[in-house]
């Protein structure tokens, strides 16, 4: 399929932004200045970006605890995100949510989610709302291989099927539900067939391959917008870091991540493909790398210098009125 130059450049910029953001959060977390839990998306960039490139302002996504990539792909402000992760007043959620609750409903991002399987019902609601309000919008439920065994996800697949809602169920299978292997924990071992059991068509793609995700998502979103009911995608890849920062990952075989980084890096794949096919030049990609590096530097510097929330912020934003 043809992808425009602008779309290719935009996609690469987003994937590079996610990678730089996550690598930098990994480094900064080790300094002890980032509080709480963070779950990094490095290695999974092609999924969030390949899907979100098909979306626009009337579309919504529901995310997971590993939500930085989805947030960036859907258009959340990167400096606001970094401040949020540091717990700053200027953060996207005023420092009240943190890494696991980054959200910006104004750009269609319904929230990272601290509860495994929390998002799919919300995506159903956003899709229901889009359908009833006739906005033409669709909703994407990103969820992991752990959430694929949650009742909420299975209920949501049935719910979306019954009402033929424009929901894209995107199973991001990074091989591990926390520390438990997805090859062991998904009964039936065939997610696409499971989706088909709900009457939801789907396919499986290699999540290291941006073009595979992009093509599958483009087809699915076209069907969603045509009113053909919910769609399903099983994306496989491996995460570069632990379940959370600080996870020693002794459940993984030695060398797994090193090999993934060397041979299965979605950014390296992308560059080789577009340069090899003479769609983009190395210089254009290098320029994006530099710009993104500067942006992330600025995000971290801003976050480090930013003030924390004020004491009075503790009591605000619980209710609209009370």
């Amino acid at each position: 399929m043809q992808i425009s130059r602008d779309d290719l450049l935009g996609s690469y910029r987003k994937m590079r932004t996610i990678r730089e953001f996550e690598e930098r959060v990994h480094k900064e977390f080790a300094t002890g200045k980032i509080p709480g839990f963070v779950h990094l998306y490095a290695g999974e960039e092609a999924s969030a970006v390949g899907v979100c490139q098909q979306l626009n302002g009337v579309d919504y996504i529901a995310s997971t605890h590993r939500g930085h990539g989805h947030s960036i792909a859907k258009g959340c402000d990167v400096i606001g995100m970094m401040q949020e992760i540091y717990g700053r007043r200027g953060g996207l959620c005023k420092g009240k949510g943190g890494s696991m609750h980054i959200a910006d409903i104004s750009v269609g991002m319904l929230g990272a989610n601290g509860i495994v399987g929390g998002g799919p019902p919300l995506a159903c609601g956003a899709a229901l709302s889009a359908k009833l309000r006739k906005t033409g919008g669709v909703a994407v439920a990103f969820f992991g291989d752990g959430a694929f065994n949650q009742g909420t996800t299975l209920e949501s697949m049935n719910f979306a099927s019954v009402y033929q809602l424009p929901v894209y169920f995107v199973l991001e299978d990074n091989g591990y539900a926390e520390s438990t292997a997805s090859s062991w924990s998904i009964g039936g071992h065939n997610p696409v067939r499971r989706a088909e059991g709900f009457g939801i068509p789907g396919e499986h793609v290699d999540g290291h391959d941006f073009f595979a995700v992009y093509r599958a998502a483009a087809d699915a979103v076209t069907r969603l917008r045509a009113g053909e009911g919910p769609q399903f995608l099983h994306v496989s890849f491996t995460r570069y870091y632990g379940h959370f920062e600080g996870d020693a990952m002794t459940y993984r075989p030695p060398g797994e991540v090193t090999e993934e980084r060397q041979y299965l890096d979605p950014l390296k794949f992308f560059r080789a493909r577009v340069v090899g096919a003479a769609l983009l030049e190395n210089s254009a990609l290098d320029a994006i790398d530099t710009e993104v590096g500067t942006l992330i530097d600025r995000a971290v510097a801003t976050a480090l210098a930013a003030p924390p929330p004020a004491a009075e912020d503790l009591l605000t934003d619980v209710y609209k009125s009370y």
Binding site: G111, L122, G125, S129, L132
Partner: protein, 336 residues
């Protein structure tokens, strides 16, 4: 103004709000009551008939049955609400909240705070509660203390048909998530209810009656029982105030404290389990803020700390009766 049942009051509130605002939709378990079956499409109109007639009037885009998937449809209500709609989701009995607790406790309740004030989630969850119809342990609980405990939720518990209509309309128009409790044994109660729409503000208690000797705070169906007890005590010259908080979140602490400061005595009557419930909460409020004004120990009249039993003889012992309330008031007033 005409006599309406609790059921009719709710029906009228939902119908008038659905007419007023096209963003108001209603869905849940059997709320149409027959969709997809071969008979009448709104055969039930809700398990106790509160939404009967709304499906033919508003059509399947505005009111529809759901699969019995509480997590999916309660979560979908939140997702629809944060994207611009005003859903009423019906979880048939509050006992079923156990299967969708996450979507209520961790999702809708917390969006606004977690997202730094940038989310508005105008959801109403309607649910039946309460004992007295021999429905046993899994269909008779109150559970509103659990929701009251969760910041971000509002909790409304109407005590009569008039209250039901006004509080329901307020719930639908409110911009925060509201859990709306309907006592299943009150559905056939009737009283004068205005035909036109009206709201009852949250956090403003109703003074059911005023008297100088004791303050009774009663919730939901217990307002009726407390009224019967207070009426019986009139003959003995004991004059009681009765306060119906209407909402446990927000709670009108000012009204409760002001009344206790006048009477010096507090009896809290609650149908919920006694531990960590509203009776304990209101007792603590008064003990902490009106200690010097108290002339007798605070009394809590609640069921025992047991599940709700099935057999009529046991259930009748379980629910606080007007006689038990009357005895508790009399003892409190005579204490010295």
């Amino acid at each position: 103004m005409s006599k309406k049942s609790f059921r009719q009051a709710l029906n009228e509130a939902m119908r008038q709000e659905m007419e007023r605002d096209p963003m108001v939709i209603a869905f849940g378990e059997d709320i149409a009551g027959g969709m997809g079956a071969k008979g009448v499409q709104d055969a039930w109109g809700d398990v106790l008939g509160a939404s009967k007639g709304l499906l033919p009037e508003f059509g399947r885009n505005r009111i529809f049955d759901t699969p019995i998937s509480e997590s999916a449809f309660v979560g979908a209500a939140s997702g629809a609400a944060v994207t611009g709609m005003r859903p009423i989701a019906q979880v048939m009995f509050v006992d079923f909240f156990g299967v969708c607790g996450d979507q209520i406790i961790n999702q809708m309740a917390k969006f606004r705070y977690m997202f730094g004030g940038k989310a508005t989630t105008p959801v109403v969850i309607r649910t039946l509660f309460g004992a007295g119809v021999r429905a046993a342990s899994q269909h008779s609980q109150c559970l509103y203390p659990i929701f009251t405990h969760v910041p971000g939720l509002k909790v409304a518990i109407p005590s009569s048909p008039y209250e039901a209509k006004g509080l329901m309309i307020q719930s639908i128009r409110d911009d925060d998530p509201v859990i709306f409790f309907e006592h299943k044994a009150m559905y056939d109660d009737t009283e004068e209810v205005p035909d036109e729409p009206y709201t009852i503000p949250f956090g403003k208690a109703r003074t059911v009656r005023e008297g100088a000797d004791a303050t009774i705070v009663a919730i939901g169906r217990m307002v009726q029982y407390a009224s019967q007890a207070a009426a019986a005590l009139d003959a003995d010259g004991i004059r009681c105030s009765i306060i119906d908080p209407r909402t446990t979140s927000p709670l009108d602490t000012d009204a409760i404290l002001a009344s206790v400061r006048k009477t010096g005595r507090l009896i809290v009557v609650d149908e919920a389990s006694p531990r960590c419930g509203m009776a304990a909460d209101i007792s603590a409020l008064v003990a902490q803020n009106a200690f010097r004004e108290l002339r007798a120990p605070i009394r809590m009249v609640t069921p025992p700390h047991t599940p709700v039993p099935f057999a009529a003889e046991l259930e009748d012992l379980y629910v606080p009766s007007p006689a038990k309330i009357q005895a508790a008031i009399a003892e409190t007033v005579r204490y010295h």
